[in-house]
Amino acid sequence: MNQDLALKYQAFVDGELREAEARHVAQLLETDPEARALVAELRDTKTLLAGNEPQLPLPESRDFYWSKIQRDIQCLEAEPRSAGGWFAALAGWRRFLAPLAGVAVITFLAMVAVRFYSPAPVDYLAEIENLSEESTAYSFRSGNMFVVWTQDRDVTSDDSQLKFIDYNDAVAQ
């Protein structure tokens, strides 16, 4: 059974399929005992978990726990608010706004320049990590194409060269 079909059975169990698709899956189940076993397991797990969420007592006394919450609430409510709201509160910061705005504009322009106009050498850097003992991967660049080639570890190096047209030229571009 492939992964897509298995996920479809799961969606069927969860009531997430459209009606037509659900009917189709129900028909498939009638003729596939392996699928029926999988659906039964998924349903059993679902039933097992429903209503059986672990219940763990909070490891602090009622008073202590509440005292911390109350303290945090009181701290939040005690923060001074100036009359006239946030706009008036900005009054003290007016003298910094012009230079700050200037810095922000310069930063923004610099970011635009770096992002769009720099040669972006970082684009050529890549990290590749092999995650399988059965295969290996290597990369190369050709023109506007960056290639990661995966091959089985039992393939000889000669074989790997034959598939590329002038491999060295491809790498050198």
Binding site: E16, A37, T45, L48, P54
Partner: protein, 200 residues
């Protein structure tokens, strides 16, 4: 002002309305009633007592701040669990950025490992007391990666749909489905293995 003793027999609905008017003892009663559930949800997700206590506490403070926004569309405790879940998800995302992904979690995410797990056909929880069952479920949850545990909690305990889970976890519906599938299969196999250990 209502005393702690007076509030113990008052319904959640009335306590919420009182708290919305600024009645702190009413809110304290709500905290006392539902603190274990909120803590348990945080612990299920974070698997750390300290984090769960901190986040549940933060959730209550946020609950107080946002109380006026609570319209009664859901129960108060459901509303609070959504707050604590969002806080846990934010914290988990922060922790993920700091944590290197292990090969194991990559293999879990790949969706291939669960194909090697045999389908569990017997009921591994038959004969268990509810308390014991919950303990085993808690133990099994602890053995999942945080992504798989989270998707399982959001789907099975929070009863969110795939689409909503994808939004909360900032991933695709396909990824949610793969993770949920793996998590359920792993859960079934873990529960079966605990049963085998018990019998041997």
């Amino acid at each position: 002002m209502a005393t702690q003793h007076d509030n113990s027999s008052v319904s959640d609905e009335k306590l919420v309305k009182a708290a919305q008017r600024g009645d702190m003892p009413a809110f304290e009663e709500l905290v006392a009633r539902h603190r274990d559930k909120i803590y348990a949800r945080a612990f299920s997700m974070m698997r750390s007592e300290e984090d769960a206590v901190d986040l549940s506490q933060e959730a209550w403070v946020k609950g107080w701040q946002r109380l006026k926004q609570f319209q009664g569309d859901s129960s108060f405790v459901t509303w609070m669990t959504r707050i604590v879940i969002n806080l846990c998800l934010d914290q988990l995302r922060k922790q993920k950025r700091q944590r290197a992904e292990s090969i194991e979690s990559l293999e879990e995410d790949s969706g291939g490992v669960e194909r090697q797990m045999p389908v569990v056909t017997t009921n591994p929880t038959a004969g268990l007391e509810r308390q014991e069952l919950r303990q085993r479920i808690d133990k099994a949850l602890g053995q999942l990666s945080y992504e798989h545990r989270t998707v399982l909690i959001l789907h099975e305990f929070e009863e969110l749909e795939y689409k909503e889970i994808a939004k909360r976890m900032e991933c695709s519906i396909g990824t949610v489905m793969s993770r949920l599938f793996y998590a359920r299969r792993k859960m079934a196999n873990l529960m079966a293995s605990y049963k085998r250990e018990e019998m041997s």
